[in-house]
Symmetry: none
Subunit: 146 residues, 4 copies
DNA sequence: GTGGTCTAGACCACC
DNA sequence: GTGGTCTAGACCACG
């Protein structure tokens, strides 16, 4: 995972990391009890400051996905898989409703919206974005220009 | 007037103002050549910092919707109506594609997506706030003295 | 407030700041809607790094006490006073139970505990710790040796 | 044996171990001259990092409870029983005063405090975990072969 | 080795 | 001016 951190995407890096982890849990790549890469480890492998990674871990701990054992590392919480999937779903459904609301406000007809949606659903093959395989290979270090 | 500026929505205030104006142009409430309310006027009427309104006007000028005549005010550009509608459409379509991409990535099936979309289309009125008509009252050009 | 930040107390500085604010809200010194001192302002007045203050503010936002308006500042949430008092109470009651549990485990008798408690309740005058007046004078700047 | 080490309690593991031993000495389960389990033995039996156990022993040695004989092991100091009980008492009394001070600062009345204390004293057994007897099984000195 | 706290200072978006 | 993000690097507690 974490092969797709984009420093220039506008999305905060810590949020991208959180999304990656959330996705990994939701799809079973990270299982309850699994230990996450250490802050330093991950920060080096994705070329990001340790504080940034730590912030992601802390956020996810607050949100109930992870827990920390001082001196031992950060772990995936038990019984969180379903909640995690639910959260993803809810977030996306909310955004969908929002965008469609805007579409209507902008004067697009239901037919137009349906057509766009249908087209969007047809495009792109893999049902899950990056394949689990890709996701799994832990952070090929990429040492961009310093 | 501009009753739908929400300071706590997370959406930047200047962007909300821009959207209102863009929509007003697209739907003919603001016509080419119309003068917009002055920065001070608008900022007072919607209780927003003048700098914020000024930024919105500047942005829209850069994007080709408005032009400024020093000492006279800010006006709606000619021949911009169609472009304006097009821009709205394109933006929204892009966002739709994006969200649906994410939905697929999160594991939602095409059927689920279609169902959500259908439900959202069925709902009456915009999901967050006043009707477009209300929204645009403010945008009505005013040739008030000064 | 914030006259009593102790850098060497072992209690994290950000937690001390949070406690101060929580106390100020609970006791009505900070009222719903009030704006807090800006991060930079407060960080200078108590000689602490802005990041530390920012962390306190963010924590309290997550906990529901504060909300942020970008570019405007950080404010006390509405309808939080009671919750705030409740939280304080609950925390302290929990700690009391804990300590008394330990006292019993260490072999202190109920009588002994009661005596200690009675003594502790008798000591010290002001019912509220620092007087509201003290608390209010916003952070006399103290520039300790650098 | 040492069934009450809770890795997730927030209380440092080394402190939990120290408390267990201190309590064992105070209550006569460990007598002056008794040999403690070796670091490795204890660390295995309670599933804790040997460094952590070693730190506990070191701390208790500094505090005068234990002494080390190179090659022989770690032993309970003579004439330490009373001191040990005293220390426990003093620590707990200090904490009680502290918490009650906070309770007053938070606005709890003396009556409320007394009520909470009474309730807490009424409860059977320690509030968090096994009975003292259980706790100390492990602490039973073992003269196992080296 | 692990994470947690704090500092210093840069850059950005927003108002 | 406001807060938010990120970096760099120090020091500490814990295992």
């Amino acid at each position: 995972m974490f092969t797709d951190i984009d420093l220039d995407s506008g999305v905060p890096v810590y949020a991208q990391i959180e999304n990656n982890i959330q996705f990994a849990i939701a799809s079973g790549i990270l299982k309850p009890g699994d230990r996450l890469p250490s802050v330093r480890e991950l920060s080096e492998s994705i070329n990001v400051n340790p504080n940034t990674v730590a912030k992601s871990y802390r956020d996810l701990e607050v949100r109930g996905y992870l827990y920390t054992r001082r001196g031992m590392g950060v772990f995936v919480n038990k019984g969180i898989e379903a909640k995690c999937r639910e959260d993803s779903r809810r977030q996306i459904i909310a955004r969908l409703h929002e965008v469609i609301g805007e579409a209507k406000a902008a004067g697009l007809s239901a037919d137009e919206v349906n057509e766009i949606v249908a087209k969007s659903l047809r495009v792109e093959g893999p049902p899950y974005g990056p394949t689990p395989a890709e996701v799994l290979q832990l952070a090929r270090p990429r040492r961009a220009a310093k």
